[in-house]
């Protein structure tokens, strides 16, 4: 996984830095190189990466990083902040015309997902109280009109079509009249996919635009697009003046660097993301999630922040020392379990660990009820037992089980798994200093 590459490389760099005790500009440069490679691997456009790195470097060589005790962490934080900033800090939604109907026009390359997305938008906005009309303006691709009709049928949303022998400009005009007559307050025009360099077809879009004056023109972009995303977005924006972007097929495993590219070159907001083939699979765009995805590192930053917020620094340091010297006890464990609980629901916390995507999470059973059990068992131990689990003999086990309302097997399991827990919590408390590679084959004790 690319993240592991980036993580390992940044760690490497940081180790060197630690040895020197102080960060130099050269170190920062080295880290920037790794970030540059990561962004390129995520398909962010080369030029966009270059500008971005320049901007981030400027901030990074500033005192922020140089003075920090955890420079690697600081750099990642800055990169992340800049990424979020670039992709738009606030969420952007579709806006509606003051005088209905609101006309939305969907444009984009062939195969980017316009027709499906038109249906999804109709579905979503209808839930917000709109009365949509879908308009079939793709007269070129075989069965494109039929496709929209099927989608409309599935949603029970009317579809306006005049077959494939009529000029799309005329279809759009007639559709608008039809919408007014039938009191539709929302018109979504599906256009044929086309290459941004096909002048004739780009001209056709301009004419549709002049004819129906859409309230918003939405560029539909496949999130798997590579370096060419900038050319496509630039051309469509120059020719039509787009109002927003919808990213499709984000339910796959693409890192989605195109998001950053198209946003940078057009300055237009990404409004929604397509997350599946079902007509309900359209979601709002979250810049922070996208930033983490492009960097390939989960919500590592929020985890760092959360951890910083809820962990008592001094206590954490004490714990770390104990764990290193293998003096970590059940008493400490109980303590740390309280800390972790403060960080929020466990699977949410786990979800923020880099490398832990949803897929990986499915293999890790997080049973918060079991966590309560574990807590009860430890609470039923004497202080001495917590400090020195080895003294817990059969008699003691019986007592602990009875006291905690569990069984002897439960107590045994806890003790056996305690060793492994140490590793897990060590990793969590070390977060940021040695960013872990996910939980891998760790078996969660709860």
């Amino acid at each position: 996984m690319v993240f592991e590459g980036l993580s390992a490389k940044l760690q490497e760099t940081m180790k060197k830095i630690r040895g020197q005790g102080r960060v130099t500009e050269k170190d920062v440069k080295e880290m920037m190189r790794e970030i540059k490679l990561a962004l390129l691997e995520a398909d962010v456009n080369f030029k966009v990466v270059k500008d971005f790195i320049n901007k981030v470097s400027e901030r990074a060589v500033g005192q922020d990083v140089l003075e920090s005790l955890t420079p690697g962490q600081q750099v990642v934080k800055i990169v992340n902040e800049e990424l979020i900033e670039l992709m738009g800090k606030t969420q952007s939604k579709i806006t509606f015309a003051p005088n209905p109907p609101t006309v939305l026009m969907m444009v984009g390359l062939q195969g980017s997902g316009k027709t499906t997305t038109s249906g999804k938008l109709a579905n979503l906005l209808r839930k917000q109280g709109k009365n949509p009309l879908l308009v079939a303006c793709d007269v070129y691709r075989p069965a494109a009109i039929k496709q929209l009709q099927v989608v409309g049928d599935q949603l029970n949303v009317p579809v306006f079509s005049m077959g494939d022998k009529v000029n799309p400009v005329d279809i759009a005009k007639a559709a608008l009249e039809h919408a007014r007559a039938k009191l539709h307050d929302l018109v979504i025009i599906d256009t044929a996919g086309r290459l941004h360099i096909n002048e004739e077809l780009m001209e056709e879009l301009s004419r549709i635009k002049s004819a129906v004056k859409p309230h918003e023109i939405l560029l539909v972009v496949d999130s798997m697009t590579g370096q060419d995303a900038v050319n496509v977005a630039e051309s469509f924006n120059e020719k039509l003046g787009i109002d927003g972007i919808i990213l499709t097929k984000l339910d796959g495993d693409t890192r989605g660097g195109a998001a950053l590219s198209v946003r940078t070159v057009t300055g237009k907001p990404i409004k929604y993301v397509g997350m599946g083939e079902k007509l309900s699979d359209l979601e709002p765009f979250f810049p922070d999630r996208m930033a983490s995805r492009i960097l390939g590192m989960g919500d590592v930053l929020s985890l760092i922040e959360k951890a910083q917020e809820s962990f008592d620094e001094k206590k954490a340091m004490e714990l770390e020392k104990k764990m290193r010297s293998q003096q970590f006890t059940l008493e400490d464990f109980l303590d740390q379990m309280q800390q972790v609980k403060k960080m929020g629901p466990l699977n949410q916390v786990l979800g923020m660990i880099p490398g832990m995507n949803n897929k990986a999470l499915k293999n890790v059973e997080v049973d918060e009820k079991k966590m309560v059990h574990v807590e009860a068992i430890i609470r039923s131990m004497t202080r001495q037992e917590r400090m020195e689990p080895s003294i817990i003999n059969a008699n003691r086990k019986k007592r602990i089980a009875a006291g905690s309302g569990t069984t002897i097997q439960d107590v045994n399991r806890l003790l056996k798994e305690f060793e492994e827990m140490k590793k897990l919590f060590k990793m969590m408390s070390d977060m940021g200093r040695h960013r872990g590679k996910g939980l891998g084959k760790f078996k969660m004790p709860f």
Partner: protein, 301 residues
């Protein structure tokens, strides 16, 4: 128009983009230095070759430049060309020896599977083969109608069930029809699917099993369609589809745009799967055989 001319024409844009920039780089550099290699690397990266592959290619190039004691920057280009040809070389003829033989076309959503099937059917029919196409995409709205339009356009038989039916059952019927009607080639459309969806990948295996069982020993092509606009995700697509379906070749579509499709170089060098065909437009004739040397020559002309 000969094959090479058509190919060249189709690749015009790709070629122009890359060669103009490379020429500019080579002219503006008086000597071979790190900066020259960096610029070359940039050109590779912006063609979607991927940073890892690009760096590898440039490392190799540097070594060769040293070994061959190259002193003129312009000769570096020839070496780079050789490198890339070497990577891209592979068998591109379709393996359709038996009658019937089967071509299955797979890929993620919207890459151009159905359109490519129309084009291949046309190509094969032109060469005198009897072709049947099977509407194996029973999922996407109007996918069957789309293939039907193509079948009518080209003038070949179509086997279809209704939307929502079992794709394996469609393929079963299509195989029986291919045998009964003595067809030479059966081309199967499949629904677009992201390679990350496990159960959909299983569905492909099921289709493949039907063919194994009903047509043992038949020549088979499993062609993965990759969209030239796709970036590095194409590598994951190729890897995952290959795991479940043993891909025998790649169709690279949409090369008529400005995207370079360079990621196939990474795919080829990692997975050794040859590119067999390229799509250069939406018309029936906009399909060409892939030839590595011509492809690279056209890039650097």
């Amino acid at each position: 128009m000969g094959f090479f001319d058509r190919l060249k024409e189709g690749l015009e844009k790709t070629r122009k983009g890359i060669t103009e920039r490379i020429d500019k780089v080579l002219v503006s550099f008086g000597k071979i230095d790190d900066e020259l290699f960096e610029e070359l690397e940039e050109i590779l990266v912006t063609s979607d070759i991927g940073i890892d592959t690009s760096m590898k290619i440039i490392e190799d190039l540097k070594k060769k430049v040293r070994e061959n004691k190259v002193i003129h920057p312009a000769d570096v280009k020839d070496l780079l060309k050789e490198e890339l040809v070497h990577v891209m070389e592979g068998e591109c003829r379709l393996n359709i020896g038996t009658s019937p033989s089967v071509i299955i076309v797979i890929g993620v959503n919207g890459v151009g599977k159905t359109t490519s099937i129309g084009k291949i059917a046309n190509l094969l029919k032109q060469s005198g083969k009897k072709v049947i196409v099977a509407a194996g995409d029973t999922f996407r709205a109007a996918a069957i109608d789309q293939l039907e339009v193509w079948a009518n356009r080209v003038g070949v038989d179509l086997i279809k069930h209704s939307e929502g039916s079992d794709p394996a059952a469609v393929i079963y019927d299509a195989v029986q029809a291919a045998k009964a009607r003595k067809a030479d080639v059966l081309i199967c459309d499949t629904a677009g699917r992201l390679h990350t969806k496990k159960n959909l990948m299983e569905e492909l295996k099921k289709v493949s099993k039907v063919i194994d069982r009903e047509l043992p020993g038949a020549s088979r092509e499993t062609l993965l369609v990759l969209d030239a606009t796709t970036g590095q995700n194409a590598i994951a697509q190729a890897k995952t589809f290959n795991e479940s379906s043993d891909i025998t070749g790649i169709i690279l579509t949409k090369l008529d745009g400005t995207a370079k499709g360079g990621v196939i170089i990474a795919v080829k060098s990692e997975l050794k799967i040859p590119v067999k065909l390229v799509g250069v437009g939406e018309k029936m004739e906009d399909l060409q055989e892939f030839n590595a040397r011509e492809f690279i020559e056209a890039l650097f002309d």
